[in-house]
Amino acid sequence: MTEHDILSYDVIIVGAGGAGLRAAIEAADKGARVGVICKSLLGKAHTVMAEGGMAAALANVDDRDSWRVHFADTMRGGQYLNNWRMAELHAREAPDRARELEAWGAIFDRTEDGRILQRNFGGHRYPRLAHVGDRTGLEMIRTLQDHLVHLAIDVHMECTVLELLKDGDRIAGAVAYERERGRFKVFKAPAVVLATGGIGRAFSITSNSWEYTGDGHSLAYEVGAALQDMEFVQFHPTGMVWPPSVRGILVTEGVRGDGGVLRNKDGKRFMFDDIPENYRSQTADSEEEAWRYIQGDKSARRPPELLTRDHVARCIMREVRAGRGSPHGGVFLDIAWVKEKIPNSKEYIRKKLPSMYHQFKQLANIDITETAMEVGPTTHYVMGGIRVDGDTQMSTVPGLFAAGECAAGLHGANRLGGNSLSDLLVFGRRAGEYAAAYARDNAAVNVDAAQVDLATTNALRPLDGAGDRGPAAEGPYQIQHELQEFMQELVGIVRCEDEMKSALERIAALKKKAPGVTVPGNREYNPGWHTALDLRNLLTVSEAVARAALERKESRGGHFREDYPDKDSGFAKFNIVLRKGGDGAMQVSRESIPPLPAELAQIIEEMK
């Protein structure tokens, strides 16, 4: 180990998206020495792509809103599998976190009276999403980044964590490699916050970037932390479907929030055909009422296009399967139609949805102010993740914390749009605060040289046989591609037992193959090597999704089983939890959800 310098911090944060940056700022504010590690450059994390907005019950647009309504909406959306403590804290604290961003320089769009404007989004009873056009994530990440660079925080950019280190039962640091030179870096810290985001790259059609290989999930799992709710993957109903090379790129829900409607090839607004029982009282029953809602009429109810994402995605699948889809296997999302209703519709669309306008114009040659878009479901978000304590965000491993998309609990079986950006800030802040406190109380920790050596030896393996691979043999890209294809096909939006079992067999086969993969080139900025190193993580999260999905023999939220198409109240009482067993195999268990405190139960009852 002599060849590696050890970098020592009180708290290391893995990830520089909204959750990681907010955690870093908080930990530094609490006096901790903080190091941030991220795979890309600062400001490029996934958070930058978020479009629609951040949910917070500021009640600026509709004064009937409050944390209690937001709490009830989140629980209803999550089909009551949520960690209710997290749902409560999130709803209570999100408004302060939004105002705090403004104090750090963010500029949200404004209401007439100069306050933060809020927009409609699926599953939220009132207009609740603070936003900046359709580039809210950029505003958030840039604000946090610009605030952070003036604090005494080290940022290790283009540096990838390969393995976490332990000292007995507790966390002790991490081994990473920096891309530019391919050198290893060893980090020692009594507290580690994982804020690594999601797993979308396990599927072939996704809105997610190359970074989303489930690293945090897998790193935590390897050191013994529990994962939960991994069967709940969110397929966003509206991704681009044409041309092929843009398939999966997101079309924000904001399009529907601002008046966009879904139609099949016969021009029918099919979302009116199937409105779930528990949303019927809140949903418009005519096109006329739906439009009044979009216009801000408080007596009108929400258009059915704004039902939760799991439901809208399945309705789209239904239309496509019944042969009523669009030419390229999606349905039509039409915002241009508002010209029938308002005079300056082109201007309205371009102002409300500038980057959607740009995206379609540039990538698909379509002017969305004139023509309907073609859209279909895309893998978007993982509700499941590292099991954490609701207040502190500590995982089941002492000293290991998780926040943001890689943590589980807040969203239950289905996340409401906009609840992620607020999640990042609320729980990023909490993770930073408690990680700093933990580090202060448990400062002395040791790094074990043997663990470091094992990590670096494993990491170098793909480069060992460099050049040996004949043209026919599989490289890391081919394995990744194969995995993505069969995960999409067999463990995607519609699942059944046989298919998932066959997916698990194929995962097992790839697990044998992956460690033998070799790549050409050397250690310096070598994407092939990086892809080879990502394979373990992708395989771990894929297995976790498949095993959890097999165990949940019902349909709920983001998880739909063809062989068990209905909700089963017996499954409403527990989360599915995955751990690495002593023999190295993945163990599946059911952990019951603690009963709701009376106060929260009453809120849910009142808001039914």
Partner: protein, 276 residues
């Protein structure tokens, strides 16, 4: 489906050359797709930065047929396919490997710019009131995705290597966003002239032309900032008043001498042209 040749710069800080790769091109493909296809099929170690593939993160900047572009937003059918498509890294920054350059200088520059400093809140809940019409301009600047293409084309950096004296168009936009922020009360005018070198800009408009976010960098950001500098420094009356207030030329002293580290690359910011 058609066949096309891509001529990609391969190399590192010690030098490199253009290498031809052939690959199939399908409808709607963007340049980044072709690079990825080549990477998966023929050159696993071809280095390229990207994240969003939707023009939102500003990672995939490069020079395609000599034009500074985001590779993920450039459709191949917009290019002349009768000859090879040349893809090279940005020139204003030192090459690291293949299409990846060392842009760490930009991150160091940002740290030298005085941070956002708001006036006290307007309301008891800690919030402020701002009219949409008062923030439109600043929102334009805040669209910046930090792709650094404007830095790449600015001759002050690209040809004259004034990286130590001039912060470049991207950061003039950043200063403008702070200076014109309705809540901000800090003063950055003195350092604009001194430490940030705004005088080097001779309004060639090249930066505005390449900005993928269509930010009107020169007209809306740089020229108004130049006016503020001129008002202060060449107006004897203003200067006298300021002398009385004792607020003179504190700019340089307020820049922290030793910044916390921003690891990424420690190499010099000046590009070595020979190494291309």
């Amino acid at each position: 489906m058609t066949h096309a040749t891509f001529r990609i710069w391969r190399g590192d800080s010690s030098g490199g050359a253009l290498v031809d790769y052939e690959t199939d091109v399908t409808e709607g493909m963007v340049v980044l797709d072709a690079v990825h296809q080549i990477q998966a099929e023929k050159a696993n170690d071809l280095a390229v930065r990207w994240n969003c593939k939707a023009g939102k993160c500003g990672s995939c900047s490069a020079e395609v047929n000599g034009m500074p572009k985001l590779m993920c937003m450039l459709r191949i059918d917009e290019l002349d396919m009768s000859r090879p498509v040349t893809i090279e890294p940005m020139r204003a920054f030192p090459p690291l490997r293949d299409l990846v350059t060392d842009v760490s200088w930009n991150f160091r520059v940002k740290k030298r710019i005085k941070k956002f400093t708001p006036r006290p809140p307007d309301a008891p809940d800690g919030s402020w009131r701002m009219q949409q019409s008062d923030v439109d301009r600043v929102q334009e600047f805040r669209k910046c995705i930090e792709c650094f293409l404007c830095q790449d084309v600015c001759h002050v950096l690209r040809d004259h290597h004034k990286h130590d004296e001039f912060i470049g168009p991207r950061f003039l936009v950043h200063v403008a966003a702070l200076e014109m922020h309705p809540l901000d009360v800090a003063d950055r005018v003195d350092e604009l002239k001194e430490a940030h070198g705004i005088g080097y800009c001779n309004i060639t408009l090249c930066c505005t032309k390449v900005c993928p976010e269509n930010i009107t960098i020169t007209d809306n950001a740089i020229i108004p900032l130049k006016e503020r500098v001129v008002d202060r420094h060449y107006d004897p009356l203003t200067k006298l008043v300021r002398l009385f207030r004792g607020k003179r030329d504190k700019g340089r002293a307020e820049i922290p001498a030793e910044d916390p580290v921003l690891h990424g690359s420690s190499r010099s910011a000046n590009p070595s042209e020979e190494s291309r």
